[in-house]
């Protein structure tokens, strides 16, 4: 989803969203205090448990507000100075305490259907997973748990992805699923975070905010203010290749991926060449 109007209006709309997230956080914090008061008055652990539930929910809304506020600040600056439009994922990487971050959304068969990243290395790393069909985000979705890897472990665990990621300067990656109850909609990968339990907690909390509030909530912005990439041209190219070679779409998509990997070029560029008739596979 993209917001209409001038860039200043867009920034204002993001501030309003942030304010609504903060209201939700405040409401949850009031419930936390009520539950804690009742726990003190009556004893027993029921209210303590309820207080924990509301605390988690308050933290989630608070984090969402922070993500939106940081995006609003960048959008306002962009309205003043111009240049490249701000990326929502920049704030996500910051909140994770990471150098960079990428989000992958998947369909029910766990195929990547959309992606967003904070910078070029994270975009390239994300795309490697797309092309090679292996990597931390894919494992986080499949196993529904956090995946941590660094240094030599990268290559040991993912023979294709590992060395290529190291080539991009990625030394450490932490990927967590974007999940809620029975649903898993994708994964968040943070690059260059510290490898400790606190980092895992932080990144998991950011993932929770993204899942419940940014991608799925009542006030959701699943298009990340224009920052999400649906890879439209890759799918257009796959359709064309399928006709040109008389093969099925999944096979055509695979051929486009293979070509991107072989040429060490972004898959979007390869797709552009195919769509504009400059490149024919086969």
């Amino acid at each position: 989803m993209t917001l209409g109007g001038s860039s200043a209006e867009q920034a204002a709309a993001v501030w309003q969203r942030a304010a609504r997230a903060r209201e939700r956080a405040d409401r949850e914090l009031r419930l936390v205090r009520e539950c804690e008061d009742l726990a003190r008055e009556r004893g027993g652990d029921l209210h303590v448990r309820l207080a924990h539930i509301h605390q988690a929910s308050a933290r989630r809304h608070e984090l969402t507000a922070q993500l939106l506020e940081s995006h609003a600040r960048r959008a306002a600056r962009w309205a003043d100075t111009g240049g490249r439009p701000p990326l929502f994922m920049t704030g996500v990487a910051e909140a994770c305490g990471a150098d960079s971050a990428a989000v992958t959304l998947v369909d029910i068969d766990r195929n990547q259907i959309a992606a967003a990243s904070s910078d070029e290395p994270s975009r390239a790393a994300q795309e490697l997973e797309y092309i090679l069909g292996e990597g931390p985000a894919r494992d986080a979705v499949r196993n529904r748990c956090a995946v941590v890897a660094s240094g030599g472990v990268l290559a040991g665990r993912w023979p294709g992805y590992g060395p290529a990621a190291e080539g991009l300067g990625i030394g450490h990656v932490l990927a967590v699923p974007l999940q809620s109850a029975d649903s898993c909609i994708g994964a968040l990968a943070a690059f260059g975070v510290r490898s400790d339990a606190a980092s895992t907690t932080t990144v998991t909390q950011v993932a929770d905010s993204l899942t419940r509030n940014v991608f799925l909530g009542a006030d959701a912005v699943p298009g990340l203010f224009g920052g999400i990439d649906y890879r439209a041209e890759v799918h257009q190219a796959a359709g064309m290749v399928a006709v040109q070679l008389g093969c099925r779409i999944p096979d055509a998509l695979e051929l486009v991926k293979v070509r991107a990997f072989a040429d060490s070029r972004p898959i979007g560029d390869i797709a552009q060449d195919i769509v504009q008739g400059r490149l024919r596979l086969g």
Binding site: L50, L105, D182, P222, E233, H235, G239, M240, A242
Partner: protein, 242 residues
């Protein structure tokens, strides 16, 4: 914790455990809530009404079929101790069901509850995140009011139940939204693929291919994504063919 408090905790565990097993099964949650309330407070019967998100429809249940239908009728009549608790947010404690004031206030509900053999009712609002979302009503025999200890705890029970229902609803909404997002994204993918297929097959630009796809879907009154999916599966060879 007293024995009663432990029992409340046990019912709470039952409620949350049930929600985790199947977050979409609200009716099962309401049945557990009514039965848990009846058992805990040694009531003769219990009924529950719940309005997810504060909008209609009103979901109801009772500890036996006659109470289940009383709950449904009360919601339709907009009458009864539970209806008042749900709409005002105030608890009605140990009300004489057959009293003159009750008959005046609830002309249909009061006689029906009396005929079912209930003398006294306690109705508690179930609180959501912003306001009440339902009510739990506990019935006792005419000569058996709820004891004081039970009254103190029954509020706690209703409060916990309100929270549980709200959390369960949020989880099930998230599941529905996840399905919708996945559908929207998958639809985009097949539409782009179909554009590529039609453009290559008929030597068209992508915009022309899209116009053809959309025109076909409109004239056949079908969804764009469904038509696109068939194109990607090798069906509809006649589409855009001269």
């Amino acid at each position: 914790m007293t024995l009663r408090e432990q029992e409340v905790a046990a019912v709470f565990a039952e409620l949350t455990g049930g929600a985790a097993r199947d977050p979409l099964d609200t009716q099962a949650l309401l049945a557990t809530l009514a039965e848990g309330g009846r058992r805990l407070f040694h009531a003769r019967g219990a009924k529950v009404a719940y309005v997810p998100g504060g909008h209609s429809p009103v979901l109801t249940d009772g500890t036996d079929p006659s109470l289940g239908s009383l709950a449904a009728d009360a919601a339709r009549w907009e009458e009864g101790a539970g209806y008042d608790a749900r709409t005002t947010g105030c608890a009605l404690v140990d009300v004489d069901v057959a009293a003159r004031s009750a008959r005046l206030r609830w002309p249909r509900w009061s006689p029906r509850a009396t005929a079912l053999g209930f003398g006294r009712a306690t109705a508690l609002p179930l609180q959501g995140r912003s306001g009440q979302v339902g009510a739990l009503v506990l019935f006792t025999a005419p000569d058996k009011p709820l004891d004081e200890e039970a009254l103190a705890l029954v509020r706690l029970f209703a409060e916990v139940a309100g929270h549980t229902l709200t959390l369960q609803r949020e989880l099930s909404e998230t599941q529905v939204l996840a399905g919708q997002l996945e559908h929207a994204l998958s639809s985009r993918v097949v539409v782009e693929q179909a554009k590529g297929i039609l453009a290559a097959r008929h030597g068209l630009s992508l915009d022309e291919a899209f116009a053809g796809l959309r025109g076909y879907a409109r004239s056949h009154r079908r969804k764009l994504a469904d038509v696109a999916r068939e194109v990607t599966e090798g069906q509809l060879p006649e589409l855009l063919a001269q």
